[in-house]
């Protein structure tokens, strides 16, 4: 069990890390953890619903400054800022999950097949991937969100629109990474050895190549999550997001707070903005430190004292048990 735990991607790195890298990773994990917890428990923590306009004693009122009832004030539309910030985390996590899950499977499959088989399929896919790269991703997201939601925006319609538009941009990223790894691994002797044995291409792809190619995925996963979050906020800010009655969304709130800033109403813009910054920062910190820790050359280590440590075995021969020992062990 202990060995299984230590092989989980993030836990292993956490144990490996030292100094600044550990600080970065722990900070990132804490922020991300809070973000996810808030998302899960938003209904319990938030004092009001995300679309709630009135409490027990009448309407909240628009643009109320922070007070005991509304600790972060209310928006121009009369919503409670604190509640919408909390509920917004839920929307953000859903979008990240849907976007990454949709893109990761398609991306990996395409990368694996295209990298291993090569040929014309590979060339066509690479060109398509490059074309998508060349396209401004936000523009693509806008077009897709219009196509998917048709101008309407329910909770799932909005989430799917945002998530799928991000998916289109992400698939080429996963595709590229997996394809590059596959091409590298294809030339490894253990793949040749499997070929020598007469293993079918499918068996080689899934038993030998796939598991060895997914090493860098946690890193891209986290980096893409923060990008997904930013794209969602960008869509909301531009007015292609989710209606306030369907779900809370930070980008939308920022957009509505635009005119407030000039008239000295700071609370409507500050808190959703801060939420976006913190969530992205947390996820990025995790991603970047995983990235550094994955590379032995970038990984920091504690300095050791002079003359410390055990001498490792020189000759491989001495680590071999003698024939007698083997016979005893096998008997």
């Amino acid at each position: 069990m202990a060995s299984l735990l230590s092989r989980l991607p993030v836990l292993k790195q956490l144990r490996q890390s030292v100094g600044l890298q550990r600080g970065m990773l722990v900070t990132g994990l804490v922020i991300t953890g809070v973000f996810v917890l808030v998302a899960v428990f938003a209904p319990a923590i938030a004092p009001y619903g995300f679309a709630q306009l009135r409490g027990a004693d009448g309407p909240f009122g628009a643009q109320q400054p922070p007070s005991a009832e509304h600790i972060m004030g209310t928006t121009v539309g009369g919503y409670d800022v604190y509640s919408r910030v909390l509920w917004g985390a839920q929307t953000a996590v859903l979008v990240i999950l849907v976007a990454v899950v949709c893109s990761i499977f398609v991306g990996i499959l395409l990368g694996l097949v295209s990298g291993y088989l090569g040929g014309w399929l590979d060339r066509v896919l690479v060109v398509i991937g490059d074309a998508i790269y060349a396209f401004p991703s936000l523009l693509l997201a806008i077009v897709l969100s219009i196509v998917i939601s048709g101008g309407q925006s329910s909770l799932w319609g909005g989430i799917l629109a945002a998530a799928l538009s991000i998916t289109v941009v992400f698939i080429p990223q996963y595709y590229r990474v997996i394809r590059a790894e596959t091409i590298r691994i294809k030339a490894e002797p253990y793949v040749e050895s499997a070929k020598m044995l007469g293993a079918s291409p499918l068996r080689i792809m899934f038993r030998h190549v796939l598991r060895n190619a997914t090493r860098t995925l946690p890193v891209i996963f986290t980096l893409n999550s923060s990008e997904a979050l930013l794209t969602l906020a960008g869509l909301g800010f531009l007015g292609f997001g989710i209606e306030p009655t369907a779900a809370a969304e930070w980008g939308y709130d920022l957009n509505k707070a635009l005119s407030d800033v000039t008239s000295g109403i700071w609370w409507t813009a500050l808190y959703p903005g801060l939420a976006i910054v913190l969530a992205v920062l947390g996820i990025t910190l995790v991603g970047e430190s995983l990235n550094d820790l994955a590379d032995p050359r970038l990984r920091g280590r504690k300095r050791v004292k002079a003359r410390s440590g055990a001498v490792s075995m020189t000759s491989v021969d001495t680590t071999l048990p003698s024939d007698l020992e083997i016979r005893q062990e096998n008997a």
């Binding site: 040749e192 007469g198 060895n212 280590r301 440590g309 055990a310 490792s312 020189t314 000759s315 062990e329």
Partner: protein, 564 residues
């Protein structure tokens, strides 16, 4: 010996590394001294700390290392002594190059491909002295002439890829020599080179010592190279120097147990005493194939690699004919680029042949079809060169050994194949429990045994072994070769044994085929090829092979010089 006479004096050096698994000590209390104009060889197997010791002379250890003790380095003129361990930044740079320089193992990666060799040699000059471009170039030409590059005035403007491997190593030596350091540290300077080129580089290093009085610290695992060049030898084992002696004394009367074992493990030419027909058990002989029918038969075999657009292809194998009979071991010897690996891959169906005929177990490989050949794969085992890379790192040894059984339908799953896998592991002298380990948890020799087990899993008629021991240390190599011979004796499979090392091939092969630039220059029974070589290239190959005995090696060197 007074300190002024020694170029470097290492006193109680210890080096520890910070790793993911805590501190690891690589060098433990090593004291060495190198006199002016002396060649000190540090020998030992991988992980013995020889390279770390050498690198500490230049202060080249990575940040994760912590060093204790002292490395006292004298300047060329002998008027300054620095403790390299205590130096930092600018003062360390001043010492490097002018007092001590390094020659690396792999000349292709030690040279920067985008600069001319002249520029790279002059780089060292410019770092230490102010001189004009023309002066620097003149010195570069001069030093290239010294190391024996023909037409140095022209060649100084060439890029590394325009030189052969041996010439590249000469350029690296020139760059090390250009500031006239009193000491050169050569880390496995000939390991990446072919044996005939190795002899030339060793000659060059010897000349440096004799003509320029340069001291050399030679790091190597090859006892033949030590016998050829070294004045004094230090044997390292597990981070310590276990024995230090004059070269003649060490080879004649090794004192320490480890030294004795090391010397005993070195394969010697002419030690291959057995012939296959004595080795193959009578009942195993001709088991799979009717008598007289060869397992592999090549006639006029041609393999071309296609060139890039508009360029001619490269002919890797040119009109080669040979046969491997049932239960016979054919040793295929040649230098890098001779086409030996290509032939092995063609027999295994990994490379397509382009001309002639190659029949493997009755299948014609010209116009190869994977579907028709697949059943035959069950009868061919393959052992790869690098045991570390030929195992999927995410599968356990048992799963990897079970792969051939599962693929060819002899077992439903790796778990079902386990009894047979245990049997195989036992046959290659690995404990059964090792089946549950991952490849990285095994040592090099153990992995190569597991690789052998995988190759033999389907009880093949033919085993192709491509340099199976060249990634292993000598003592391990000896045991793997022994094992190979034993298994071949017991199971009676035919084998193609590919190697660049004549002495290794000699131990196992019934017949030896010598390849040179894609052509088969000589083929015949082992004893005949080695004792009465007919082709000039074979003679040179045999003469170039350094033997682990300084006296005999001096004679062989003279003989090689006579060959021209």
């Amino acid at each position: 010996m007074n300190p002024a006479e020694s170029v470097v004096e290492i006193d109680d050096l210890s080096v520890s590394f910070a790793t993911d698994h805590g501190a690891v000590k690589a060098v433990d209390g090593v004291s060495l001294r190198v006199a002016r104009g002396e060649v000190l060889a540090i020998v030992g197997e991988s992980g013995s700390g020889k390279t770390v010791t050498a690198k500490s002379i230049l202060g080249l250890l990575p940040e994760t290392a912590t060093t204790g003790g002292a490395v006292l380095l004298s300047s060329r003129s002998g008027d300054a002594v620095n403790d390299v361990v205590a130096l930092d930044g600018a003062r360390l740079r001043a010492v490097r190059g002018s007092d001590v320089a390094m020659v690396f193992q792999e000349p292709s990666s030690a040279l920067n491909p985008v600069f001319t060799v002249g520029w790279q040699i002059a780089e060292g000059l410019r770092a230490h002295r102010r001189l004009s471009r023309a002066e620097a170039k003149r010195e570069a030409v001069e030093i290239l002439r010294t190391v024996g590059i023909p037409d140095p005035e022209v060649r100084v403007n060439h890029y590394p890829h325009q030189f052969s491997g041996g010439q590249k190593q000469r350029v690296v030596i020139a760059a090390a020599l250009v500031l006239g350091p009193g000491l050169i540290v050569a880390d496995e300077p000939t390991t990446a080179l072919d044996v005939t080129v190795q002899a030339e580089i060793l000659d060059l290093l010897r000349r440096l010592r004799d003509e320029f009085g340069t001291a050399i610290v030679l790091i190597t695992h090859n006892m033949g190279v030590v016998a050829d060049l070294a004045d004094r030898v230090a044997v390292m084992f597990q981070g310590e120097v276990v024995e230090q002696a004059e070269a003649h004394a060490l080879f004649a009367h090794p004192q320490h147990d480890y030294t004795k074992r090391l010397l005993a493990a070195v394969p010697r030419l002419g030690a291959g005493r057995l012939v296959a027909h004595d080795r193959v058990a009578p009942d195993a002989r001709g088991r799979a194939e009717p008598a007289g029918r060869p397992v592999v038969e090549a006639s006029g075999l041609v393999i071309d690699y296609p060139g890039r657009l508009g360029r001619r292809g490269f002919r890797a194998v040119d009109e080669v004919s040979f046969r491997i009979g049932a239960g016979e071991v054919l040793g295929l010897v040649g230098e890098s680029g001779s086409g030996k690996t290509t032939i092995g891959r063609a027999i295994g169906g990994l490379t397509r042949i382009t001309g002639g005929s190659l029949r493997v177990l009755g299948h014609e490989m010209l116009g190869f079809s994977e579907r028709r050949f697949k059943p035959a794969r069950a009868d061919i085992g393959f052992v790869f060169q690098d045991p570390a890379a030929s195992f999927n790192p995410l599968l356990t040894i048992a799963e990897a050994v079970a792969e051939p059984l599962v693929i060819h339908g002899r077992a439903a799953s790796p778990a079902a194949a386990r009894p047979r896998v245990d049997e195989l592991l036992e046959a290659v002298q690995l404990p059964k429990g090792y089946g549950d380990r991952y490849p990285h948890e095994l040592s090099g020799g153990q992995r190569q045994r597991a690789s052998l087990a995988r190759g033999l899993a389907l009880d093949p008629t033919l085993l192709i072994a491509d340099e199976p021991t060249s990634a292993l240390d000598v003592s391990v190599q000896a045991r793997v070769l022994e094992l190979f011979a034993e298994l071949q004796h017991d199971l009676g499979f035919a084998a193609l044994f590919i190697s660049h090392d004549l002495a290794v091939v000699d131990l196992l092969a019934d017949r030896i085929a010598v390849l040179h630039r894609g052509r088969l220059v000589e083929e015949g029974p082992g004893a005949e090829v080695l004792e009465r070589p007919r082709h000039e290239y074979t003679r040179r190959l045999i003469a170039s092979l350094p033997v682990p005995d300084p006296v005999e090696q001096a004679q062989r060197r003279a003989a090689l010089a006579a060959l021209g």
